[in-house]
Symmetry: C2
Subunit: 333 residues, 2 copies
Amino acid sequence: MIKTPYLLFLGDAPDQLAAKVGQGIKDWRPDNAVGQFRMEGCKADLGLTDMSLLDAKAAGAKTLVIGVANRGGVVSGAWKKVLVTALEEGFDLASGLHGLLTDEPDLVAVAAACGRDLHDVRVPSVQYPIASGVRRRGKRCLAVGTDCSVGKMYTALAMDHEMQARGMNVTFRPTGQTGILITGDGVPLDAVVADFMAGSVEWLTPENTDDHWDLIEGQGSLFHASYSGVTMALIHGGQPDALILCHEPTRTHMRGLPDYTPPSLEALRDMVLPIARFVNPAAKVVGISINTQHMSDGDARAYIAATESRMGLPTTDPFRYGSAKLVDALAAI
Amino acid sequence: MIKTPYLLFLGDAPDQLAAKVGQGIKDWRPDNAVGQFRMEGCKADLGLTDMSLLDAKAAGAKTLVIGVANRGGVVSGAWKKVLVTALEEGFDLASGLHGLLTDEPDLVAVAAACGRDLHDVRVPSVQYPIASGVRRRGKRCLAVGTDCSVGKMYTALAMDHEMQARGMNVTFRPTGQTGILITGDGVPLDAVVADFMAGSVEWLTPENTDDHWDLIEGQGSLFHASYSGVTMALIHGGQPDALILCHEPTRTHMRGLPDYTPPSLEALRDMVLPIARFVNPAAKVVGISINTQHMSDGDARAYIAATESRMGLPTTDPFRYGSAKLVDALAAI
């Protein structure tokens, strides 16, 4: 287990989206984050107290969590001085990057010399099975997006929060580094070998009681050329009963793909349903989650109302306006 | 490079399909296969001469190629005595299984003691990029199937054979162990980490001249719960201009999934086209490949004619009746 609380390392994040790991921890486990550490030129800000390593240590932080992701997910050479010093000051390190802390000889050597731990939460710790496709009891909900980074994890976490408050039988099932860092458990899906992707999702969401809901963290998008295969495996491994469509209306091009415009919610609905129904004929789209973080309150409410009317489905921004509508839709299944 | 010719090891294959690696080598590089080695209870037969290790050695074989795959792809303990003896008799070993020869301490130790090589062609030898989705010059053709193991690789290899004969500018691009063992090059796609799947396909099929065709080996099926994510990555990474639909009409359930009936060719067409067109608006289905290996000549011809009429697309069994129709369709693009 990773020792809490954390100091969230934002490094030289080029923009706010790059710090979504740190943002997720801060938003969903605020007690676990004593502060943030930002380097010269950092363009992200979580609104936490900026702390030096010594300040954070004095405030009780046990682990420096890398709360920033760069394209390709490598441990940047520019971060090394801070990471090495953190180990020497008595912090463990935790990371969800593709590039592993444990593949960096300097970090391994210093950690060993100082008696500190390196946690790579993206390394699968389980030999996952090949997916069987067999139907299993219990209900599952999956958020799918018109693009990457549109709020799929936040949607599931907001629904989890609401369902827990209502006393429903629910488990949030993380499939990415942030979710795993938040809950301490899950499948690091984008680091799983291709043949075992769907099987890892079956493993994560096993048979359960009829009243139980798994809220599966979504990944990628069926329309995202880089990651669509991961999304496909989530749908076929998760066999969702309920799908939530996620969209970020101000996105002018898909994340990391300047040549691509995100598809419409209608296009997403029409693509995902036949895929989901092949493994679960009862699959249906039950609601829509709009990420309105870049819109005014008036614009956001108007967009949500227009989308709800156009699509004929309960629509909200679950982070901004609560997830009650989406949970009502699940409860009605 | 793997030394040729080979002795094809079929082990205790439970059925003929399990020996498809050996079958592929025998069919497409017959000069490379001096014979087959079958154990007690083997249910596969490639029609090659059954040879002992000593017979094969005398016939000039240099490498024992594991031509059989079991579910999960492990190096079976039941094979070990033969594999160890082969090393001692002077053979190298080559395998495309998920379970690695180089992870078996006994094989590693004996190979070292005897000065032999262990080749695991399923281990990615390249750090593939994240897919960029950028359009690139040159043309690409991808075979997609209603199920796994319906003839996608054979379709591409038959077309490659015909296109070479016509003097067309073409490259077969293997994405699986058999193809890699046949050509000595390619991407072991089902062993690639999820995030890099589509990028590995972009890497395999780079920009080329306008008249050049890549024939990309297909994998899995968009409808196969275990492997659909791999197929998705092939489509989005490969950006095919031309799609060939592959089908095996006698299949009563999907490979390894007793609860699932293969979809219709119409369902495959309707699912694959919007997926392919999101990354390549010019993508079209140009033909249909029917695997008629379990049908009489009369039944096969009747099925092909009926399919061609119903679907309005050139249809053939490229292995049994030649791939000229499919190549004509490509040449017309």
